[in-house]
């Protein structure tokens, strides 16, 4: 692709991000919001068991190219991750379906800032991306995510939030 990929944090609709099964006080913002996500001490933690769903809507259509998912090195970093596209109502009972991309992260990928390339053809015109963490590196009951970065580029449509009244 000719267009270089960028961090899509600007395109995320952060007020509508939804996270299921997160623990109180250790919320999705710690992993997604700029500033917080760079701090390895601030985590998004699972509550009841090791599963976690983070649903991120975008302000306009985007094409995704790669992901960075980082967790702490104590075995609570995510291992099996499924990425769903345009499923705004994803929850734990309908995440068994075929995902746009199923990943099994290696320890190096899950604890470092290594980019995970996505199948480009599956991630065209994305309005909502949902990241479902199925289990973690250590197999324990708690999953921690320190950082989620979504890379790609916006499909250049009219960005309604930039429209001004004349």
């Amino acid at each position: 692709m000719g267009i270089p990929e960028t961090d899509l944090i600007e395109e995320m609709d952060l007020s509508s991000v939804e996270c299921l099964n997160m623990a109180t006080g250790k919320e999705w913002g710690n992993a997604v919001k700029p500033g917080y996500r760079e701090d390895a001490g601030l985590l998004c933690q699972s509550d009841d068991d090791e599963q976690l769903i983070v649903t991120i809507p975008f302000k306009q259509l985007v094409n995704l190219t790669s992901l960075i998912i980082r967790g702490p090195a104590d075995g609570t970093a995510p291992r099996t991750v499924k990425v769903f596209v345009n499923k705004p109502n994803l929850s734990f009972d309908n995440c068994g379906k075929k995902a746009a991309e199923s990943l099994v992260l290696t320890a190096a990928q899950a604890t470092g800032d290594e980019k995970i390339e996505l199948d480009f053809t599956q991630f065209q015109n994305v309005r909502v991306v949902s990241i479902f963490v199925d289990d973690n590196q250590g197999g324990g009951d708690v999953t921690n995510v320190a950082k989620i970065v979504v890379n790609g580029h916006p499909v250049h449509t009219t960005n309604m939030s930039e429209l001004k009244k004349c």
């Binding site: 007020s15 939804e18 299921l20 599963q51 109502n89 734990f92």
Partner: protein
């Protein structure tokens, strides 16, 4: 001001035909649902409320979450009874309806009315509860009817779903009015502090006005008699609430070590008991002249409106002697009669607790109260008899 979508799950099984909660379990819970829906939609303009019936062939969503109170009232009004409740299925259907809410900013809440034996096993309920907890759904359970039989299962269910203390269970003993018991519980006040006087005042005011609206709605705007005066209802309710709050505060002072741990329902029941027995001490040993003035004014207003009430009812029966009486007229009259009696009951409560009301009441025309209470009924009976004789 919590932004949330609520599914109200109504128990419409055969068990709710029982009339141990007046007028019947179904209607009592219907009233509570109307009130709750009103309070929820008033607490935040973006809140939405849906209705689901738990029994029948299968649990059915009657109204998907909406901010239109009319739809909710309509659905509750047209509900039919039959079958037995399927709690775990119903809860999951409610979750599905909530999951597809329009506004993703809304938090999800399910309010369950359970007035019949729960067939599902404790394990089943616990696993459903855990699923809901994982999906950030809060659940309030209002248990009435088969309280003892259900308590273990329902408590296990609420414990499984509870996260940050967002789920509650309220038990309503037989004979109590479900809506009234709910008023001062956390089901109504969301996450506000119950003992906070200002918030309970606001909630009571909202509830009173919505109840008045509901009554008006049900009767097609036939608000003619003084008992339906929403301002009077509000004044009564607010003063009852204040009294209750004061007693609670007093109880807390006397044994603050233990009472802090008690839940709201226990407090409420205690407060009601003391009111019912009339053995409660005068509310506050230190008499605040300001509050006394207010109280005295309220009593006077109350006494005055009682007098008006009598005048109205007697006047009405006088008129009706000349008119031919239709069936709907009779229904209306019955209802106004009931209202008068319930007002009188409130008055009795006041009299027990407030020594200052005695001189006011005694200043009324002597012995009028009791006679008046009986005479309209008798005169109406004689009317009906005469009407029967006419028709036959």
């Amino acid at each position: 001001m919590v932004l949330e979508a609520t599914m109200l799950c109504i128990d419409n099984s055969d068990h709710v035909r029982n009339s141990d909660y007046l007028p019947s379990r179904l209607q009592a819970e219907g009233d509570a649902v109307n009130l709750l829906a009103g309070a929820k939609t008033q607490s935040n303009p973006e809140n939405s409320v849906g209705v689901l019936s738990l029994a029948g062939k299968v649990p059915r969503v009657l109204v998907t979450p909406t901010d239109d109170l009319g739809q909710v009232l309509n659905a509750v009004h047209g509900i039919s009874t039959g079958g037995s409740i399927k709690l775990s299925t119903g809860v999951q259907v409610a979750h599905l309806a909530l999951k597809h809410r329009q506004n993703k900013h809304q938090r999800m809440r399910i309010v369950l009315f359970v007035g019949s034996p729960v067939c599902a096993s404790k394990d089943e309920l616990t696993s459903v509860g855990k699923k809901l907890r994982k999906c950030n759904v809060a659940v309030d359970v209002i248990s009435f009817g088969d309280i003892e039989q259900n308590s273990e299962k329902l408590e296990a269910f609420v414990a499984a779903v509870n996260k940050n203390d967002n789920s509650n269970i309220v038990t309503v003993p037989p004979g109590a009015i479900i809506a009234d018991v709910l008023l001062s519980t956390r089901v109504f006040m969301a996450d506000d502090n119950i003992t906070n006087g200002a918030s309970s005042f606001a909630a009571a005011a909202a509830a009173a006005s919505s109840q008045a609206a509901v009554r008006g709605y049900a009767r097609d705007g036939a608000i003619a008699d003084g008992a339906d005066d929403p301002a009077l209802m509000l004044a009564l309710r607010v003063s009852l609430e204040e009294e209750r709050a004061r007693q609670e505060a007093q109880m807390k002072d006397t044994d603050d070590a233990s009472s802090e741990e008690k839940n709201a329902a226990a407090h409420l029941i205690c407060a009601q008991d003391t009111i019912a027995k009339g053995s409660g001490k005068p509310p506050s040993p230190i008499v605040d002249p300001l509050s006394l003035d207010e109280e005295a004014l309220l009593q006077r207003a109350f006494a005055l409106s009682m007098a008006e009430e009598h005048a109205i009812t007697t006047g009405k029966t006088g008129n009706d002697n000349q008119d031919t009486m239709t069936g709907s007229d009779a229904g209306l009259q019955m209802e106004s009669q009931e209202n008068t009696i319930s007002l009188a009951a409130h008055a009795a409560d006041f009299q027990d607790n407030e020594p200052c009301i005695d001189p006011i009441l005694s200043s009324l025309p002597a012995g009028e109260g009791d006679e008046e209470k009986d005479s309209p009924r008798e005169s109406r009976r004689s009317q009906q008899e005469s009407k029967h004789s006419k028709t036959s």
